[in-house]
Symmetry: C2
Subunit: 223 residues, 2 copies
Amino acid sequence: MGSRGQPEESRAAILQAAAKEFAENGIAGARTDAIAREARVNKALLYYYFKDKETLYGAVLDHAFSGMKTNVFRALDSDLPPREKIMAYVGAYFDFIASNQIYPKLMQREMMRAREGNSIHIDRLVKTYFQPIYRRVGELLHKGIAEGEFRKVDPAHFVPSMVAMIVFYFSSAPVMQRIVRFNPLTPQRIAERRAAVMDFISAALFLPCSSAAPSSRKSGVHQ
Amino acid sequence: MGSRGQPEESRAAILQAAAKEFAENGIAGARTDAIAREARVNKALLYYYFKDKETLYGAVLDHAFSGMKTNVFRALDSDLPPREKIMAYVGAYFDFIASNQIYPKLMQREMMRAREGNSIHIDRLVKTYFQPIYRRVGELLHKGIAEGEFRKVDPAHFVPSMVAMIVFYFSSAPVMQRIVRFNPLTPQRIAERRAAVMDFISAALFLPCSSAAPSSRKSGVHQ
DNA sequence: TTGCACTAATTAACCAGTTAGTTAGATTAT
DNA sequence: ATAATCTAACTAACTGGTTAATTAGTGCAA
């Protein structure tokens, strides 16, 4: 072997392998040996780039959530009217999760770790990623309500409901598959889910009709 | 001390302590020492009553989900009309989770463990608890649709959405608390959530009105 | 010839599971 | 009745396999 595998590549390989291992097994269940093997580097290299397992875990979380933030802010920064913007936001969020299916697992794992000083990462994550997104969505909802487009929803209930419908679908897919006897993660089924979520959200959020545009919503919810 | 602490009590204490420890830390993160300490018994007693850590974990899951099944089947077995029955079911499910807040964590943890032969419990749990409930709810939705009370929803999307809104709210509460700066788990807030979920569900499921009864739904969604 | 990228080998700690018992009380024998 | 025997319930102390983390280096490029 020898050195020089392009350091950035090694670092990235470690980060990616770690993301997978942490998502599948949680920080306690993750094995540093497994991460090193998957990344095809020596285990000691993990400690060369990252202080310890916990720090590596933190880096994985930052990488994941900063990707998400970038993605949804593209929608939130656009100058669409409220209805279209919230749909663009939900769509962007859904698509990001759908094409990075280890992230919902990472996210839920970290959420469950967050009670008391249990996780040293959660405060940073909230401040850097969750707060800014939540704030912007809150403002957006407020605007939509003020303009008579949205029902009077409380962001503190609306946002977790929306996140739940997206995140939970993917993280519960393996169980769902055993219940319903088909794979919920085929492109076909994922597209269905996307439509179901969008429809569910519109049904719960939009007022029947304020001026002209008949909402894009079709007949059925969830399907 | 000495022996005879009433064996049933010891077993129950172990099960309860284990449920807490597994919910908080997952099976990999849970410490058998911690379980024994919390249950105020010697660690070897865990192995006297349960073969090993994995078996104890399985017993915890069975205990939790059988409680849930009993509870929601009370609603599903009642002879209410579809609208009222689905609301009774959702309410029962919500109340069960709300008063056993370690269960949503146990549930999500087990869901994330379910890919490939990873969990030896999931097949049993699906067959014993999830399948029967899912089947009954599916029939109920079907009936409601046939009677023109419900929109044409797909149970494979409706059920996970419903579960998500309930389960995710509780398991994400510690993070949510940091985002919104208030405690989402006060009785007050939990009651709000219950109303929000019921309202969200009705909005997405019920057809405007089929005959007489104006749905109990009031103005706002989520709040 | 310095410092960056990297590794083989080792270490210390942790933790599930075991062992070798003890104790309380029920059951049987006398 | 009561001493002898048995068994379920329980414990203190230990063990060994696992695993995060370290060390003491090597090779290479500028």
